[in-house]
């Protein structure tokens, strides 16, 4: 893996500040998805629920962030990828394309679903395992 090349904000050994259960995203290093609201919701009409910014959506989830990243991304492999399936498929929006053709990723608010490695068609680009015991997502109302 080449954490530097892909610019992981949470590369092993450089943990970002631990987030609280409220999920403040300070230090996440990914600004783009945070401000994003869901377009269909804004067009929902009188009966619709309020649109939720992506950052607020993720703040509803309890993550017990491990200092060790459980996802690694091979930046060189990503640079040759044209499909970028992880970018839209990841329900937590953890993968963001960079201007130079790489992928910026964040492991800290991961649902541990496995979608990223299953949709990835570039062999070995995404390596994924479970976080260490007691860490990662902790659902309360699912």
């Amino acid at each position: 893996m080449s954490a530097g090349a892909v610019g992981s904000p949470g590369a092993p050994g450089t943990p970002t500040a631990a987030r609280t259960a409220a999920g403040t995203s300070a230090g996440a290093g990914i600004a783009a998805p945070a401000a994003r609201s869901t377009p269909a919701a804004t067009a929902g009409g009188p009966g619709a629920t309020l649109p939720v910014a992506f950052e607020d959506r993720m703040a509803t989830v309890d993550f017990r962030v491990s200092p060790q990243a459980h996802i690694t991304v091979d930046g060189d492999a990503c640079r040759g990828c044209t499909t970028r399936a992880c970018v839209t498929a990841c329900p937590a929006n953890l993968f963001v394309p960079t201007a130079d053709g790489g992928i910026l990723f964040n492991y800290e608010q991961c649902f541990e679903c496995g979608t990223c490695y299953l949709v990835c068609d570039t062999a070995g680009a995404v390596t994924w395992r479970y976080p260490e015991g007691g860490h990662g997502v902790a659902y309360r109302r699912s």
Partner: protein
Amino acid sequence: MTAAGATRTAAEAARAAGTPPGPPTAAPAASAAATGLVPAGDFDAVVVGAGPAGSAAALVLARSGKRVCLLERGPYPGSKNMYGGVVYPRILDGLLLDWWEDAPVQRWVTRRATMTLTDDQALTIDFRTESWGRPPYNGATALRPEFDAWLAAKAVDAGAVLVTSTTATGLLRDRPGGAVTGVSTDRPDGDLRAGIVVACDGVNSFLAKQAGLHGPVDPANYTLGAKEVLAVPARTIEERFGLGPDQGADFEIIGCTGAIPGGGFLYTNRDSLAIGVVLHLPALATAGVRPEELIAGLKAHPAVAPLVAGGELVEYSAHLIPEGGYDMMPALAGAGILVAGDAAAMCLAAGIWLEGVNFAIASGMAAGEAAAAALAAGDVSERGLAGYRRRLQDSFVLQDHRRLRHAPHLLLSERVQQRYPQLACDIVEDLFTVTNPEPKPGMRRLVRRQVTASGVRLRDLAADTWRALRTFG
């Protein structure tokens, strides 16, 4: 924090196995068995994953007098688990007497509806019965952190040792390529040796893959479930859905996922709604639309928006579903190892029947029985464990799966997903549109007109009808 036990060895943790920090409403019991009577690290069976499959397996093994370690990587059972929202608990009758008296149920499902949506139409088949609201009940909405913790506590009561916050990192074998003899964990000195390993480690089952029981992994066998839990007052839910105080509704929805094959769901909890979508992975990978956008679209549909209005998002979640069913199942047993629950693709995704927890519990029970029998016979070879598959073949688990093996493919097909919802809605709209002064058309003419307008070829319609009859008939 939850890492309190992180520096403990797996053996110490198993010995101590105190009450893990659970969710607010769940309190897995500390166990009489967790007192050090069990030689730490020395178990007859290690069950990996304290979901419904794992807890059922551990419960059965403990009851048969086996020393069982129930390993859970989350801080409490259910913390990693997410589903649509309904448990079909008939299977519990054979496991726990009067289980409904203390099961953490949100609402008893008394109303089931199947909605077919287009952009601005909805055709709903809506059924309700009071009988499902009385013991022994038929289905219940439940929250997994509560339900899974409850079932795990039953296993602990029976003598299983629950060890939370511990990830199984690999299989131990007696020799390279030999029988499985335990698991390694991420605790210091974390090896747990046992006569048999029951892998209930979920849809991604790294253990079953490491054991070589899975074939090549094909994303086409998986869907992604993404859901929102929306806080809505209980009284409001009861008014909107026409329910009594303990009654619940279960809406399955097709035609709400755009170009991505899949479906949607809407379930009532006590004072929240669960609404979400299920999306076929290969299409999600290329469609360029994100899961939460599809949920937003579903919530904004005119037939759905009034039901969820004002609901405040209190938890967003996502999980993979082993949608492929029978044809994606791994080998269920190897020397020293059994696979159950989602790890063995036991989840049934057959359109009108979307069931997983009951299949997980049943497969876990069968694994527990087969493992106990094999341990008693002193033969945990693949042959010695063949009783597991036999038990599943004799139960609804493999009988339903085998009979419905073509259902996932049929239901994710382009016509069922894209053409038929529109066709069905247009036929009904035509039927109920008053065309005065024109006289009413005959039904046959009306259907023929809409089928022609839909572009669906009669040959395909007939073939799909035949396939559906053969699958569901």
